[in-house]
Symmetry: C2
Subunit: 626 residues, 2 copies
Amino acid sequence: MDIAKSISNSLAKEVVSITVNQELWDITRPIHSDARIKLHKFDDSEGKLAYWHSSAHLMAEALENLYPGMKFGIGPAIENGFYYDVDPGDGVTITDSDLPRIEDKMKELAAQNNTYLREEISKSEVLKLFKSKGDEYKVELINELEDGTISVYKQGEFTDLCRGPHLPSTSYIKAIKLLSVAGAYWRGDEKRKQLTRIYGITFPKQKMLDEYLEFLEQAKARDHRKIGKELELFTFSQKVGMGLPLWLPKGAALRERLENFLKKVQKKYGYEQVMTPHIGQKELYVTSGHYAKYGQDSFKPIKTPQEGEEYLLKPMNCPHHCEIYKSKPRSYRDLPVRMAEFGTVYRYEMSGELHGLTRVRGFTQDDAHIFCRPDQLKDEFKKVIDIILYIFRILDFADFTTQISLRDKENTEKYIGTDENWEKAEQAIIEASNEKGLKTTIVYGEAAFYGPKLDFMVRDALGRNWQLGTIQVDYNLPDRFELEYIGSDDQRHRPVMIHRAPFGSMERFIAVLIEHTAGKFPLWLAPDQVIILPIGEKFHDYAEKVLNFLNNSDIRTLIDKRSEKIGKKIRESELKKIPYLLIVGEKEMSDGTVSVRKQGEGDKGSMSLEDFANFINKEVVKQIAE
Amino acid sequence: MDIAKSISNSLAKEVVSITVNQELWDITRPIHSDARIKLHKFDDSEGKLAYWHSSAHLMAEALENLYPGMKFGIGPAIENGFYYDVDPGDGVTITDSDLPRIEDKMKELAAQNNTYLREEISKSEVLKLFKSKGDEYKVELINELEDGTISVYKQGEFTDLCRGPHLPSTSYIKAIKLLSVAGAYWRGDEKRKQLTRIYGITFPKQKMLDEYLEFLEQAKARDHRKIGKELELFTFSQKVGMGLPLWLPKGAALRERLENFLKKVQKKYGYEQVMTPHIGQKELYVTSGHYAKYGQDSFKPIKTPQEGEEYLLKPMNCPHHCEIYKSKPRSYRDLPVRMAEFGTVYRYEMSGELHGLTRVRGFTQDDAHIFCRPDQLKDEFKKVIDIILYIFRILDFADFTTQISLRDKENTEKYIGTDENWEKAEQAIIEASNEKGLKTTIVYGEAAFYGPKLDFMVRDALGRNWQLGTIQVDYNLPDRFELEYIGSDDQRHRPVMIHRAPFGSMERFIAVLIEHTAGKFPLWLAPDQVIILPIGEKFHDYAEKVLNFLNNSDIRTLIDKRSEKIGKKIRESELKKIPYLLIVGEKEMSDGTVSVRKQGEGDKGSMSLEDFANFINKEVVKQIAE
């Protein structure tokens, strides 16, 4: 803090934490030797961490005040705000309706401007402290700590076991909102007690909180689960099982349009579609290495009633594609082989982790594997980048970033494959990305266990980042499956493999697309493209004629025959996000025309049926033009 | 035999067995009281049964003669011929190369004209007989028989435990061919000894045998496993697992064309595509009743690593579709709901039962479920018949029969549902079939456990029958899933369900189509429609131009650039069953034309590229026109 003040008073007011020799510290903690430092404001992620962690302590203080005897689990800062897991004691429950009261108490305590005091303390002392409070969860945590490195923080009457860092004092916390209450098992273990998790967020300015709450409202309105239900795209069934989406007709058709769109692009780029089963012998995944890596946390093997076989739900399509590659001899002239499949895979996730279409237990990858010669690797990589950039352009994800994930060079034993192969692969990714003009971030230690990768993150209309497409180089599976081709030298060689999925998965991609567009899909994708609104019952026959004409022209058309006022019909159709509204009445019927309204833009004048159909079909072609 | 002779001598020469009061008897067995009788020639299935069963005994006699001490299992007549399971004893093996010798011995014994003598015998006597022979398999069978109903048949030196009936004597057997040797577990139990199964067939005339062997040759040439490999349509991998086809690019594309063809028809008929996961909670199938019925013989449940859940690979799509039906309230005005899915299901089959694409462990049904009001049932049924008849016409299955499978009225406890519902459903099927002019056979006792059905059997180019499409009425699942709609009376009603699959499964249908067409698919389906054959290297550039033009016109085109003589290229392309061959040389290049040859028909003159593309595309449209 003294250093910040020595620079400027205004800076000192804003700094909330500091990095000292790569450790995050309280901004008020004395530095006793030369060090490299970095000051953090709230805007930095390191600043937010201290800010929200201190807010969690503040909430805990308020809770202890309001609920004497409450026991505390853990209370970390998270991506947006903080939470605290608490045990209010038998017979006491905390619900959403209690949150305002807790908020008020927090504001009161914040205004007291209590200092966050750090104290380093011996294990025996800290144990005594929390035992005397009866805080069994903290005692359990303390027992696992090493003596000599334990610290506690105290503000006002509240003391917490904590590594820090924290704000200088509670008055830094200006705007407070507690968001929700949920259940959470102690240490994430379903066999242990379910605690009460209270989520909240705080900001240094009320305006920032207001903006955040507005963002939350918008995100809620765009929630793909809500829109997916309204537009009847997909549903879930308790009986079928959690995290297993059932695609309703409009959703299945939307998904098929996306698949056909990608199939067409891929065909142009020389991909061939294959189809493989959704199970494979356990042996297949032992060969691929997936069983050793993921077997324990996956859906368990499927046994046969006789013959003692064991199968697994496929978690990946690649082993199957390797077996197809092996189904005939390959020559250097046959490469690259580009094998594509919309392959549905199954991966176990804890039920608490599931979320709409973004976190599911079964999903369809827009998967492909390219088997190529080492000299073709970079070019193939560049072609995949081209496909992904084309898709992003058509689907209006103008704002995206890319990340190259490389090996952690300090800790190579967790990766499969030779150093030489890793280096070749990493080089190819970096060069291809550079040559395609991508501005990439390189992150060490984020590679898959079988190879380095290039990931695409898109920023949606609310500014949220989503990881979508991925391209991975793999020198490993070709080794494990002993894939070969005969080179121009008549010798056997090993091909290189590229895994790639521009959408990632159909489920996740559609979820992102819904939230990005708020369900207002581009015309070519829209579940319903046109709705006909007759202004009275005597125009129903003509409206039917228009309907048939448009449906026969491959335009997805509805009709609204309810006896409602035309104004109401228009409003409701706009809410349903149908791109074009056709009003038909006396004049339209006698002229053989329709009055066209574009969703969100209003009247576009009248057109003949042919002209309108041509107009729509041309719009569609234009939207997906390369 | 005396009765036959009393009618005519020529008849007496041909009769081989007789039905007496619904029991099949030897033609020489005396009838001691009034009885209803039916005489059987070899042409009848009852005649073949006696003929081939007697042939099995003849083979056993030959084997006992050639391999003293051989032990015998069972030796029945089958659909085409007969087999005998034998235990040649330790160290003795019988292979295909031994078959001619056994055949010769059979011919020798047949010529001896030995009588098949029937003898009814007590259990203790027959046990003594086979124990003295050391025939442990027969002894095991005898121990399970009831005393007083046991018979043996003797011809020449050979005696067999047998219910009969048999031919009068061995000289009836004129033409003999032993076909193959295989392993077969005693009583089909993999834990018991593997016996040697010898297959054979016999006929009353050499000409009939010659024709049959010619048929076998043809069937072998049309074997979908062989053609599927040659045309690179699909493959299997030991590592992925038995009975799990991997669709290669050309096969996946063929399958997609068939699926798109059906999707288009179904869309016209008001079907909506949905997509559901390949697993479901065990509870889902407990609700549907599938678990109680098939659980024991199915792939075992998939457990989760935590949370103690149990899932099953879906053996049927219907439970998932019921859950979609339930996902929102339905009114009588919304019905029928026609829900279609190309749904991949998994069913365990013993490895020994698997066969190419016709008997697999994972297959994709062209499934749909129609949920309708009872008053819509018959009409919906008729519409499904229309779709099936359309498909049969387009795919050239002109020769088909239909079978209505009803309940076994004597034994109703194995069916689920009320008598009243069964009668309503059976009536609707019969009426719909009659009104559509189908000539149906009605078979009692062949219904599925949940409802009656109408099955379509097609006769292929070799005269073999294949069961394909099926339509089933189901009053049961709507009950079990408590499906409802609100009627015009504002009351809750239960919909009726129709299960239907015109192809049956994509795998099986494609297998039948391959064997029916011998891989010579109609133009619209053919994996490769056109091959360009340049008559020398200097026309390669022009050939490439033709290739691009045709591929851009959505015509699946190849090019053969090998430096082979044009005659050889033509012959090889014809063998590959590519419908059109385009020869390009000097004249074609300078005129901008192609010389067209049609597969199997020869030269069709020259055409401009545009004309040829139009011609092909028109042919395709014509082939699938309704």
